[in-house]
Assembly symmetry: C2
Amino acid sequence: MTAAKLVELWRGGLMESRHLGHVVIADKGGIVEAWGNPGAVIFPRSSCKMVQALPLIESGAADAAGLGTEQLALACASHNGARIHVDRVEAWLSGLGLGDADLRCGSHMPRDPAEKKRLCCSDADPCQAHNNCSGKHPGFLTLTRHLRAGPDYVEIDHPVQKAVRQAFEEVTGEVASGWGIDGCSAPNFACTVEGLARAMAGFAAPEAGLRGQAQQRLVEAMLAHPELVAGEGRACTALMRAMAGKVAVKTGAEGVFVAIAPERGLGLALKVADGATRASEAAIVAVLLHLGLLAADAPVVAEYLTGPQTNWRGRVTGELRRADGFPT
Amino acid sequence: MTAAKLVELWRGGLMESRHLGHVVIADKGGIVEAWGNPGAVIFPRSSCKMVQALPLIESGAADAAGLGTEQLALACASHNGARIHVDRVEAWLSGLGLGDADLRCGSHMPRDPAEKKRLCCSDADPCQAHNNCSGKHPGFLTLTRHLRAGPDYVEIDHPVQKAVRQAFEEVTGEVASGWGIDGCSAPNFACTVEGLARAMAGFAAPEAGLRGQAQQRLVEAMLAHPELVAGEGRACTALMRAMAGKVAVKTGAEGVFVAIAPERGLGLALKVADGATRASEAAIVAVLLHLGLLAADAPVVAEYLTGPQTNWRGRVTGELRRADGFPT
């Protein structure tokens, strides 16, 4: 099976660009609906942060450190580096008796306009806490402390990453096809789109026991703090708000998006073959509409899928379209 | 014929993302070599600015206004909005007795870091001269003045755009399949990838007469001022510098890239089907290497194609690869 046509950019009545990809909707029983190749091997990138956070809770490290829902939401976040994110990350680190230098995510200018302007206009460099993954890393450090492990927690043979790999393989139901180094330097394990959707279905319908409790706590934390999972102006935050906290969604680099719908017991995973974020955002909106999880008149639908494309003078130049056969 | 595999992003020894597209190398006789579908209909976007500038010269407007090579290069530019660009655009406008308000391109924050910082930290809004297309528009205005036409030079039925369409259809050898509104509000006419490559081959081997002279002047202007065609840190400028002014190249939005090689009488045109710039930049480098027009050890080759992909800590995360069969 090859990639399916998902999203197209149209201009002047002609198709200008097209995005192909793979989409799987799964429940505990397996695939409910799919487009493209469910067996396509992908890197989930940041879309699997809630999987990477499972050992933090299951080990008892989160409770030993007294982590609340804000910190659990940040552990699953790819955030804007706004003060609401950076302040909480710095407080979390200091609570561990650690500082910015103990992070291993690297630093980059934050997306948050106010914080970016503050740094730029004061000629200040961003710190590692500004990294969009800086909430996942204090989670890793909290587990590192609990395990009495060494400081280089992003190394593939570190106890933290061994625990992450085991959890990843258990919830995807697959042996990882391989691993790569993510933008934040943590290992990112590969799986199929079906495996990632299966993992999300597990979060949507958690079973009794330690694993299920951890899954439920992480989903509830994401739903309780959508602004911490991404930030203002971001698809993840806007979509969770638009679905009134009933569906957790998470994006990942290179065109990945996942969704967890507890009331329906459904998990979604999609990968845009070319890695385009504009297409993964439009595709997740299309699938959420298809499942009736998102209202067609929600502003986020127009923003990421159905709204007109406009130029610098506000003139309509075209629109995004769902490709024929996707999602219906 | 469908799109060909062009460029892939690899991570941890696995292919993470893949870009498909269409590539045509042509000379005066037609297609020399092609990948994908030469008949694919595309919008050239800004890659055809040298075509849009033909009426400016052929009408006599450029000489009547005493335009020099800097202004002709700017007419073909998608620039960074640095002072070297904005100052020249403003001087050109004032020379016409016009101002920023006479432009129809709209305004956006420039890419040039220094100018962007200056505007951002002084809470100043960018003007239309900062628009990356602001060099093309004074060209349109110069022709508008020469034709004694009305101020709304971006309207499809304006004499300037009628002249652009005629030139476009003549050099592509096609009747435009349609037209759309570009990011700068000017009409952008559709053609096949083959038609765009044919047009570039015409610029590479200009015939005697008015058309040929105009084509030669525009190519010479681009080659004389690579920094005005794009700017520091941009592929077009870096590639023209790396090829010692022997090959003119121009990017266009949504994954388009063209090249004009006068010494070889060759024209190149490529379109990445998904519209990704990273892939159009890597693909044009690959084709220029394939033709022996670019040295394998040129830093620009490593920057846009062969160099390692690194993350925020400088760790190698993967690399871009030419897909099997492309370009050889």
